[in-house]
Symmetry: C2
Subunit: 434 residues, 2 copies
């Protein structure tokens, strides 16, 4: 039986989940894996508070990271704090002290992965990050350990449960964004400050990690185009319904021949028959297309104490198995993006655009003419509710769905349409995937 | 760069797929994995025929297994023949010659896995079987390598694409079983002799493998209860529609405390809102419930040349990485079933039962009385079409949906109902999962 001592950094939701799961399953892990895993130290900010949970013996808690870094009997450090600092410093120190690191912290990994990898390679320690994306769903391991024989050409994912909960409520109950957000907050799905989720930052961290592994090139977070869901209105869902679509916050990564990569997070309309359109509530799912495997989809709880702990403990088991071996199976050979890869910003998509206009004869012809001038061809035009305006005329909402068009051409067309006298507002632009 | 020579046994659909994929992706595999994999020999039954494909050089083909077994430079043998013999003999011989084996052959693995494992353990060779279940979907690796921290309590899968294609056609187009089977055959989804698929044998092989890994105990194929789909009728789908269900051929494994295991393959009604109900055509999906991860689902193409080759090549890469190491990561510590595990045959389920009766006053009360006597409580009763019988009376079809009941109690009740004078036939019994 291999005996391994580990330390936890942080004892909040994830940390206590990991502790409980290790305890609960210790006999199975000993029996099936031949490992005896002992939590020797837990770094906390407040020992009284941690002890009051009555989960772990008070003697395990410490306020000093040195008690962990300087203890040669501890070989694996599990970072469960979240945020960038002090996580970044502690992870680097642990790696340089030749301790393997397991983390669920998507923000610090997406921003400093490369530095960590370099440090891990130098010291021979392992870096395990399965829990950073998709909670308990084994997304990263599937990409690196099961789809190695594939060239991944596309991935599309619902990788933020908070926004998917809100969008499901808006779609199914006709709620406004504000109502749905309030419900998500009251159920504990959304933070008091929900910006990281609803503005799409959380999804960009995860897409950066996923697409780096899928496309074998480091994709920095700031390469990811980002739009959140806070400007979506009930009118958008009404239009989606009429067109046979659902609206999801999708993280999209595509790779074309010639190492052209596009990565973007934004509200997206999907046909109701697409497997991702059926993912409801706070569930996550990622749809992956490989040249051999075709389409596969992985689905499950993308967050939460025990699903996240499931991946963290799986990584701990990996790290323990690899302890004392020649080298850890951390991710290798992922070069920097700037070397061979070209980021596509003028991508091709289908667009669903809603305009608010003064309804006079010739308006439709005028607007369509601007699209045509910019080489944007239209697939369908729907006119929704009309109402009287204050000047005795009529307002109308016209929704245009394009064929595949280039992003920049569409944006140029919209700038020009916005300047037309008949245009009151370009109310919304939502991209469509099929 | 590690250089590994491998051999293929068989050069049919899977064998040629593996060969093509290795060739196509050789540069990526060298670059990302640090492996140079060379196919040194291919065992075939007809060299002329194999050479006519013009895929591989004629000098690679051989008719003699000894050319592979006796070649010390070959360290991995990839069995792509299917069927039990001579696969079983060749796999055993390869393992005893200390060559690792990769196989996609679910039948031989489900029937002789234990012998192979023993041999692999004795000789130190590896045994890699990801492709035996679910084509390109990484089901086995997810169970063994990603959900180690979980106790799996349930799995439910659509793991046969042929039958799912047929059932989708019956459900969506109102086809009869015979019509749908003919279409599946004409599209190449079903064999000329379709018994292995439609009678559920194929699914029992796969469930035996999946549940052995999920429940950490060898579940032999003949422990799996089996019913195929050939007796399903359009009336069954009509009833399902009215009740809000889809009918799927499900492979179900459950584990209760006390190592009580139930394993069964049979047509199953599922609520239309269940993620598995939405799996259409020849796709596969497996829904897994673990005590930490909650519900996860994996979805993709469960068969076909390239999806299967995707998993086989992934296994080849694993086997090559592990060559020359102390030991291969083959599955360990899966004890025989008879030691600690009790097979449940009197399982609990919901039942949907259709009877054909002579419609006289009191019939419903009579039949319900028999159910009650056997402790089977009814949730709903639907009476479908009536028609005149030949004796001037009326025929009626009555469908009963039970609450959860025991299998044996239901079967006893049905035997007694069958003997009632008013009963013409118990036409169908379909179990329901929720």
């Amino acid at each position: 039986m291999k005996q391994i001592n580990i330390a936890l950094l942080g004892f909040g939701t994830v940390g206590t989940g990991v502790y409980k799961l290790l305890l609960e399953n210790s006999i199975d892990i000993e029996h099936r894996e031949g490992l005896s895993i002992c939590v020797k130290r837990i770094l906390v900010r407040d020992i009284q508070k941690a002890a009051r949970l009555q989960l772990a013996d008070r003697s395990l808690f410490t306020l000093k990271i040195e008690d962990i870094l300087d203890d040669p009997s501890i070989s694996v450090v599990v970072e469960c704090m979240g945020g960038v600092e002090p996580s970044r410093t502690y992870i680097l120190s642990a790696l340089s002290a030749k301790k393997s690191v397991v983390t669920a912290n998507k923000e610090v990994i997406s921003k400093h992965w490369h530095t960590f990898e370099q440090q891990a390679r130098d010291s021979g320690a392992g870096l395990y990050i399965e829990a950073t994306v998709g909670g308990g769903i084994p997304l990263l391991r599937t990409l690196t350990d099961s789809l190695q024989a594939n060239n991944i050409t596309r991935l599309m994912g619902i990788i933020n449960g908070t926004t998917n909960f809100i969008l499901t409520r808006m779609s199914e109950k006709g709620m406004s964004f504000e109502e749905a957000l309030l419900e998500a907050q009251s159920r504990g799905y959304a933070e008091a400050d929900p910006a990281s989720d609803i503005e799409g930052f959380d999804a960009t961290y995860k897409l950066s990690i996923l697409s780096s592994l899928a496309f074998h090139t480091h994709i920095p977070v700031d390469a990811v185009y980002r739009e959140g869901i806070s400007s979506l209105s009930t009118s958008d869902f009404e239009a989606a319904r009429q067109l046979g679509y659902e609206i999801k916050l999708l993280a999209i990564g595509k790779k074309a021949p010639g190492a052209l990569v596009e990565v973007r997070v934004h509200p997206t309309m999907l046909p109701k028959t697409h497997p991702l359109a059926a993912i409801r509530g706070s569930y996550n799912a990622v749809f992956i297309t490989g040249n051999a495997v075709g389409d596969i989809m992985l689905y499950g709880k993308g967050a939460g104490q025990l699903p996240t702990a499931s991946s963290v403990v799986s990584d701990i088991i990996y790290a323990c198995h690899n302890e004392g071996r020649h080298r850890h199976n951390t991710f290798r050979n992922i070069p920097d993006m700037d070397k061979d890869t070209h980021l596509v910003t003028d991508w091709e998509s289908i667009y669903c655009i809603r305009t608010k206009v003064n309804d006079k004869p010739g308006v439709l012809s005028l607007i369509s003419g601007v699209f045509a001038k910019h080489n944007v061809s239209l697939k369908s035009v729907l006119q929704f509710a009309q109402q009287d305006n204050s000047e005795g005329g009529q307002l109308a909402w016209i929704t245009f769905v394009t064929h595949k068009a280039r992003e920049k051409a569409v944006q140029s067309a919209l700038r020009e349409i916005d300047l037309l006298e008949c245009t009151l507002e370009v109310e919304s632009l939502i991209r469509v995937e099929e």
